[in-house]
Assembly symmetry: C2
Amino acid sequence: MNGTLYGLGVGPGDPELITLKAHRLLQGAEVIAYPAPDEGESLARTIAAPHISAGRIEIAIRVPMRSERDPAQEVYDAAAEEIAEHLAAGRDVAVLCEGDPFFYGSFMYLFGRLARDHRVEVVPGVSSLTACAAALGTPLAARDDQLVVIPASLHARQISLRLSDVDAAAIIKLGRHFAKVRDCLAASGLLGKARYIERASLETQRMLPLEEVDPAAVPYFSMILVHRRGQAWTV
Amino acid sequence: MNGTLYGLGVGPGDPELITLKAHRLLQGAEVIAYPAPDEGESLARTIAAPHISAGRIEIAIRVPMRSERDPAQEVYDAAAEEIAEHLAAGRDVAVLCEGDPFFYGSFMYLFGRLARDHRVEVVPGVSSLTACAAALGTPLAARDDQLVVIPASLHARQISLRLSDVDAAAIIKLGRHFAKVRDCLAASGLLGKARYIERASLETQRMLPLEEVDPAAVPYFSMILVHRRGQAWTV
């Protein structure tokens, strides 16, 4: 009897924002895998840490930092192979995913390699999108609104074009792209309707007016929410 | 000491997809409020039912069905007033929200009325967006993808325009708009890359090829996910 591969959304940061289902499956899995930087802590593992029992087999999938545009194929090949061996031996494997597994997550690279030949279940999680909105106290979208998620790595031209014709936007993964995004918002006349947040729901969460953000200190896990009407609701 | 208003995301349907945090706050709240149709069950309450203890004060906010474009101001006025009385009497009030409170949810109408004068905390939940992707086994977006959420109630022209220039889209709240949306996808050459799901994560969940969907039987809680590349990941 082969094991099952679980893609577990562990939520945006606060360990209490994991679902009951992910929590249960995490407790039951013999093997736990998670993405990790070259050196240091895995954010996904840190989020899930209070829920991980002792004695689990752990697989840290260390993806080189520069690989945002190249998903480090050989790293995922090796991880998929290691996971497949556990599954073949009848052990369930839980892959911890920051936020949600299928919302800009790296889990899809394991899913693409393993879903054809193995039983896979994806457990959705609270994404950074809704966590940022909750922390900022700003509804994302209402009724007929179009809401677009824009990666900050896009060209300024593309970002400005998109901002010009939607009701609401979430500009994600700001990092070193912050100044460019801020300039796009200014050019679109939306600066006054934009809100910045970093590390939503973690203890280090910060919300700042855009003009107070130091572009040199913006982390990857940050987001700007903007709504054309200033706010989504009308009372 | 006044009470706190909690906007609790209870997730997309499966009661196990509620977060530990929403579960804890739900157990502690003396008063529970939720949107409900004119007659019959509230979906949000049904989702949360296994977690609701006996003896709670319950407020069903009955919003007339035709009010999608008019958020039934007087209904929310009355509900906000009733909730405010409980808060003033020192009782915490938990408002149950399908999916996430700030992702096209009606909670914002209470938030808009009560956040200025009362302590409010929004607890993000798993949205239908990620729940549908998980059930379909189809990642929403990767790396530089732009992902747009399109309400199906928009004009065909607006839907087609948006489909023409994004990488990935989620077309939500299909209901009686299904045939129009299907025609837009066909005209955009995206029909073969679109996937349909209704009532994600509920026991009545169904996934169908678009050509097998009966347009007369599409529920409001349904969604089409589409990705220009057919799938978000490349292996």
